[in-house]
Amino acid sequence: MRLLGFITVVLLGGLLFHLSLDFPDLGDASSPAATHVSPYYIEHTMEDTSVPNIVTAVLADYRGYDTLFETAVIFSAGLACFFLMRISERTAPKARFYRHLPTGLTLRIEKGGKIPEDTREFERIDSVWVPYDVIITMTCRLVVPFIQLFALYVIAHGHHSPGGGFQGGVIFGAAIILYAISNNLRRTLRRMSERMSALFGSVGVIIYGGTGMLCLLLGAGFLDYRGMASLLGVDPVSARSYSILIVETGVGLAVTAVMVWIYYNLSSAGKQDEGL
């Protein structure tokens, strides 16, 4: 199998190498990819949508269908992880571990034992021992708000600089995952519960699809943002620009929520009790 695979792969590589000699040169402005539809996008984006970042305009306006269904794919991936992994917590774990904060002692409480109530003195810790590292916890606590602010900037400023819903959403999700890694899963779940991530994921897709439907109701085509002009009270060109921001916000919400949701389910093997 290994030899067969190697031969197949070498043959394919040789074939592709041979074909690559006929491919257009690197940086060739007259290559097929750069000649058909892309000059239209570059030359007309500004007058059509008044969005300088062509990538954002093509993503959310000219090719809105593609992005709508990519968002739906991401949401379904989150759902798939949920249905595959999630175990509802009926059975209590064998033993729980608590750290007594003033003394630093660790308590092991067997099944059926009395669980300490006062959360100011006792903190639950994972059964796989997690080091009590002040430096990592505090550094991440300081850094996380700035990462989140940067994520919001990336989403909101996607019209004028590199950025948009996907990038900003991933950065925001990464900030929450960083918080979960540096502290623990339960504390993160108190900040952003699973229900909230599922809700945000679906709301993001609904915002995107709803904008498209709203255009349809206002007399334009599906995802043709010129129809939003009367609702937003601006000219059709600005309406396209503003609608792109609405749509990108939806994408950002969905991507953030789904990244966090997938992380919750994968890191705790579906129990969402103990994890990284």
Partner: protein
Amino acid sequence: MESLATFILTKYNYWAVIILLVIGLYAMIAKKNLVKKIIGMNIFQTAIILFYVSIGTKRGATLPIIEHAYGDSAHAVHAADYINPLPHVLMLTAIVVSVATLGVALALAMKIHAQYGTLEEDEIQEKIMESEPGSTSTSG
């Protein structure tokens, strides 16, 4: 010598893509561990992303954000001055989708590990055969 250097400089992006693609495909075919197969799939996806982004470049062009200033609404934009935005758009969504599908693939791998206690393909196949003694399948 001069022409050889030009030749390499105009095609080397495809070769990098082919090498990555072949590594990923080999891992998907030959490796028995499921996580290694998933990593191979990810290397393969990276090769495709690199391919798309590299065909978007134009010599002497800048990134696809139109130079603009406040009040400066209508000036002529030439397609040759900006690189092709289309591959960037397609790969932007593909990267995020690849992360999401990676999550699903890892969830499936975790489920398989919980069921069979291993991630090695041949051991999983043995366990499936043991659990069904009546069936004499030729696979594996």
